[in-house]
């Protein structure tokens, strides 16, 4: 695995076009899913998806292969979303960077039905969408990284640029919120 990552790092340094094509194919679903959870907008997720790969091309030399490529990829994607939020000045910087201290981080527009909601409504006739929408994005994000992407705690801390203790506390709260929300929807 470490050798694979090193080879990947070398290819990214060279800006190997075949490698980039292959990576885009390989990670398209996971990256898009992560961005969708983060933005709750298909259009934005699509924009950020493309922008993330442009960044991967431009900054590929910064990936050293010492950790999982997907963790680096998600971090780039997350930073792009945060940068965009900063530019839009929709939320205060403090709330974005330290959501535990203030209002929970919400990347999605609050007054629109989330695409997650719409996708689920269309594709699966179960009450899951309402339950997930009730979980703040900051918790949903770590749940996705841990239980869908199966990243390690340190890797999640790397993606979030947050201390391990913060990651753990968000996961515990997130899991509790998820269980509570599912229970609520089942009742």
């Amino acid at each position: 695995m470490a050798d694979d990552n090193k080879a990947l790092a070398q290819g990214l340094k060279r800006r190997d076009p075949d490698l980039l094509d292959q990576l885009i194919e390989q990670y398209q679903f996971r990256l898009f899913r992560y961005l969708l959870y983060l933005t709750s907008s298909r259009e934005r997720a699509e924009d950020f998806f493309q922008e993330t790969w442009i960044r991967v091309l431009e900054r590929g030399h910064q990936y050293d292969g010492n950790y999982k490529f997907e963790a680096w990829l998600f971090r780039i994607a997350r930073n792009l979303v945060i940068d965009w939020q900063r530019q839009k000045k929709m939320q205060s910087l403090d709330a974005l960077l330290d959501p535990e201290e203030g209002a929970p981080m919400e990347f999605a527009a609050q007054n629109q039905p989330s695409p997650l909601h719409m996708i689920l409504s269309a594709e699966e006739k179960i009450g899951v969408h309402a339950s997930l929408d009730r979980i703040p994005t900051v918790y949903r994000e770590v749940l996705v990284l841990r239980f869908q992407e199966e990243l390690g705690l340190e890797e999640i801390a790397g993606v979030l640029a947050a201390p391990l203790s913060t990651v753990k506390s968000r996961l515990y709260r997130g899991l509790e919120a998820l269980r509570g929300a599912m229970q609520g929807s089942a009742a």
């Binding site: 800006r15 924009d47 998806f49 899991l175």
Partner: protein
């Protein structure tokens, strides 16, 4: 059964899925769950919630990978085309600094001679000499900054 035991069990149920637990803790939890229906239900609910989260269907926009690959290839081509210009800039800077170092004693004498001839204070012609040294570096830095700004603007326009 004590409230503390249930609280410990609930904590271990979450911890097992988030961080993992030791064998002794796993044994204790298994024994507790055999006796406690409420905590067994919490386990079941947690498993169900995670199963649902893992199984959520999400469809990809059509042609997303192809469109992204096309954009990335275009950008890569653009970067390849710009690389020689950037290299030329650094070569010129290096030559300029090399020449500057090689000719420094003569230029110093020239500034001194001109300063004395015009009758300006020593500090003024020394500052002039300093500027003569730093101007190429400042120009190179300005070109790089402007180039990066231009690229960022182009990306903003093409990206959104």
């Amino acid at each position: 059964m004590s409230e503390n035991l249930h609280a410990r069990a609930e904590k271990l149920i979450a911890q097992e899925r988030i961080e993992g637990i030791s064998q002794a803790e796993r044994d204790w939890l298994a024994a507790h769950l055999r006796e406690c229906a409420a905590c067994a239900q919490v386990t079941q609910q947690t498993n169900d919630a995670l199963r649902v989260l893992r199984g959520l269907p999400i469809s990809l926009p059509r042609g997303l990978a192809e469109r992204t690959q096309f954009r990335v290839q275009l950008r890569a081509q653009e970067m390849r085309e710009r690389e020689p210009k950037r290299r030329l800039l650094w070569v010129m800077c290096a030559m300029s600094w090399g020449l500057g170092i090689a000719t420094a004693p003569y230029v110093w004498q020239a500034f001194e001679w001109a300063g004395n001839r015009v009758g300006v204070p020593r500090l003024v012609w020394e500052l002039g000499f300093g500027l003569w040294w730093t101007i190429p570096a400042l120009v190179a830095a300005a070109v790089v900054v402007l180039e990066n700004l231009r690229q960022a603007n182009e990306r903003d326009w093409s990206g959104r």
